[in-house]
Amino acid sequence: MAKVTNVLLVGVGGQGTILATKVLAGVLQDEGYDVKMSEVHGMSQRGGSVVSFVRYGDRVYSPLVEQGTADLILAFEKLEALRWLPYLKAEGTMVVNDLEILPAPVLLGKASYPYNALEILAGKVRELVTVKAAQLAEEKAGNARTQNIVLLGALAKRMGIAPGTWERVIRASVPP
């Protein structure tokens, strides 16, 4: 079977993973791939853990990515990077935003946050890329809300797709 590439975008409800996924899928469609994407809306938007699966290739059947098969994971938050790590394949790449968003059980003192997440990831991931997206977004765009686009940029560098395509799709899907 022709190769299908698997990507996960993971984060916390409200961080903009859905918009980022939309841009990514638009780029892949423009490149002529068959693309499928799956995410779950509803409860997860209230600050819960969110995941979008993106798969592309000549022909894609399942919209779900299987554990241990992701070529790329783009994590908008460190704890979520750890949570979804089992989906990364041994030779896969992870791009992680250097950001901590404490979940309710941690805020209530009922659980502890793994502040050493980056170290753990470094020991497990062949290619780990850390991005300080908030800082970059502030510096480059003067607006921390464009973090998701900054993160996509880091992903784009690793996908071998012409920058022009990204620009076109972002212009079409992001309100100015």
């Binding site: 499928k36 509803g42 399942s62 919209p63 089992p86 989906y87 309710a104 059980p105």
Partner: protein
């Protein structure tokens, strides 16, 4: 042109392309985006109805008026709409009538899991199941055609992974379909016993004709591959099976899953060595195959609950575990959904918890009030149940000699959906429950749809706003109070008064959902670290904008804070200040 669409978006597109002029729904995950994406089409009248029963009745009326009509709901919505559904199956249609049921295996945001394929044989109507977005769109056209040709409502059944998964869809222009003429026909539309008995016979004959149709329906197809394994499947399970078995199996891909193409199924079974059914939830296809006397493996191998995944099939068929990259060193704390910062439900739950009474909950964002630290809700059953359960709990307690007060909490959208008749019952039968209406001016849980109390329609037109206080007064409730949800003291006093009142009582806690657009800027709460005694009283509100640090200090994340100032009201030493913003609007 190809568009990248979710199953829901594709169904909306299908309604457009195949000439629908009418659509109705009550929101519910994972069906909500269907009507949300139909509303912008100026060629289609579309509305949010107060509940699914009304939405279906409205669509039946539209079908009678000759319009191709589509109605959409989540799985439990079909329970609410079951009454009109079962008799619309007898009356049949004029303009095509399609009922979309969006089921939710694995209960991502639902109160139960149910397999609505069972409704098709139960109500005796045909059912189609798409397996991706392209089919979701195409099948809307097929469903309208079948509906009109066979004089029947058609069930279009999807699941979360069809509704919310996206794929490329070939899109076309709209086909204008002529609105049919309405002819009065009591024998067909008045289901009094004498007429209904005749239509009962018609329904059986229709099912027989539809079985024949199912045999030649192009979307029911055999895909031959290796014949040592044969897989009968439908919907998203078809994609998972293809993903896992590829050409190493043959497939009977069923799309019309009621009535079933018996001959085609026999032909397929005869052509393969070992036969399996791969289907999520109930053994719906499997039981039919077995009833045909064909040996098949289904639920003895695959689970009858929760979603499937390709990994699950690999495990069950080949015993292989996924090659995952597990994290072992640390425990990964869960990240459950929470009431947002500034959520107007929070202060009400904070007060209710203090009063230590049984609280009958309902369905909506406020269902999250069951979580720590608020833990204010005792029950969640179905939309509107809070009111009836409050009355029943209160009555049974009094009847059995342990009189006590009981509180029900219900959202504004849920009140219009299924709360009003419960209030009528409480008044009618001399109840004395307390109903707290959490009026956040919207249907928040499903993404801010308008409802009869908001003064605006789904299409964005201005309309008369039905006031909940007027409704409950008209239903005979004499003790009605209205308070600002953000005002802790006012909520507390109102609840105290209602609990003391002898008779049915309603407290309307009103404050717009903090995520609604165009709200006044309320400023931010800030903790004065010098005054703060680190007593953590504020953390007991459970607001996610409050951050506690390892040294026991607490700060407020200003990006998250929406300025409700509930934390400031519970701080015993006045260490929380309000910065910026206008008056409490």
């Amino acid at each position: 042109m190809k568009k990248f669409l979710s199953g829901d978006e594709a169904i909306a597109r299908g309604a457009f392309e195949y000439g629908a002029t009418f659509a109705a729904a009550y929101p519910g995950t994972p069906s909500t985006e269907i009507i949300e994406n139909i509303l912008p089409y100026k060629e289609i009248y579309a509305e949010w109805s107060p509940n699914e029963k009304v939405a279906l009745e409205v669509a039946i009326g539209a079908s009678l008026a000759g319009a191709r009509s589509l109605v959409a709901m989540k799985h439990v919505g079909v329970n609410v709409a079951a009454d009109p559904l079962f008799t619309a199956a007898y009356t049949g249609v004029n303009g095509g009538l399609v009922i979309v049921s969006a089921d939710e295996p694995s209960l991502h945001s639902s109160q139960n899991e149910q397999d609505n394929r069972n409704f098709a044989p139960f109500a005796k109507i045909p059912m189609l199941e798409p397996s991706d977005s392209q089919e979701a769109k195409d099948l809307v056209g097929e469903a309208f055609r079948i509906s009109e040709e066979y004089d029947t409502p058609v069930l279009l059944r999807i699941t979360t992974r069809i509704a919310h998964a996206k794929g490329l869809v070939e899109c076309y222009e709209r086909q204008e379909v002529e609105v049919k003429e309405y002819k009065k026909n009591a024998a067909k539309y008045c289901m009094v016993p004498a007429n209904a008995r005749k239509r009962r016979v018609f329904v059986e004959e229709r099912t027989r004709l539809l079985s024949e149709f199912s045999e030649t329906f192009l979307y029911n197809r055999i895909e031959w591959g290796d014949k040592s394994i044969g897989i009968i499947t439908s919907g998203i399970s078809y994609q998972y099976a293809r993903e896992v078995f590829g050409a190493k199996a043959s497939y009977l891909k069923l799309t019309m899953t009621w009535p079933l193409p018996e001959k085609l199924m026999r032909e397929f079974a005869e052509g393969v060595e070992k036969l399996y059914v791969v289907e999520e939830l109930d053994p719906f296809l499997e039981n039919q195959v077995k009833a045909m006397g064909i040996p098949v493996i289904g639920k003895e191998l695959l689970p009858n609950m929760f979603e499937f995944t390709p990994e699950l099939l690999r495990q069950k068929f080949f015993g292989v575990d996924p090659a995952s990259n597990p994290v072992t060193e640390v425990e990964i704390p869960p990240r459950p959904p929470v009431l947002c910062a500034g959520c107007p439900h929070r202060p009400v739950f904070y007060i209710l918890k203090k009063h230590r009474v049984p609280v009958m909950g309902d369905i909506g964002c406020y269902g999250l009030g069951l979580q720590p630290p608020l833990e204010a809700v005792d029950t969640t059953v179905c939309m509107g149940a809070s009111v009836g359960m409050t009355h029943g709990f209160q009555k049974a307690s009094a009847w059995n000699g342990v009189p006590r007060k009981v509180v029900g909490v219900i959202g504004d959208s849920t009140f219009f959906h299924g709360g009003m008749t419960g209030v009528a019952d409480m008044v009618f039968n001399n109840g004395s429950g307390v109903i707290v209406v959490l009026d956040n001016r919207t249907t928040a849980m499903t993404g801010h749809q308008p409802h009869p109390g908001t003064g605006i329609t789904g299409k964005g037109e201005v309309t008369d706003e039905i006031k909940i206080e007027d409704v409950v007064r008209a239903l005979g409730v004499r003790d009605v109070q209205i308070v600002d949800s953000y005002d802790l003291q006012a909520v507390d006093q109102a609840v105290r008064h209602a609990l003391d009142f002898d008779g049915p009582s309603v407290v309307i806690c009103r404050r717009a959902c903090a995520l609604l657009k165009g709200l006044p800027d309320l400023g931010k709460a800030v903790i004065n670290q010098e005054q703060c005694t680190r007593c953590h009283a504020c953390l007991r509100t459970g607001c996610p904008a409050l951050v506690s640090h390892p040294d026991k200090s607490v700060t407020i994340d200003t990006n998250a804070c929406n300025g409700c100032f509930v934390c400031g009201q519970v701080c015993p030493v006045g260490a929380i200040e309000k910065v910026g913003g206008g008056e409490r609007g």
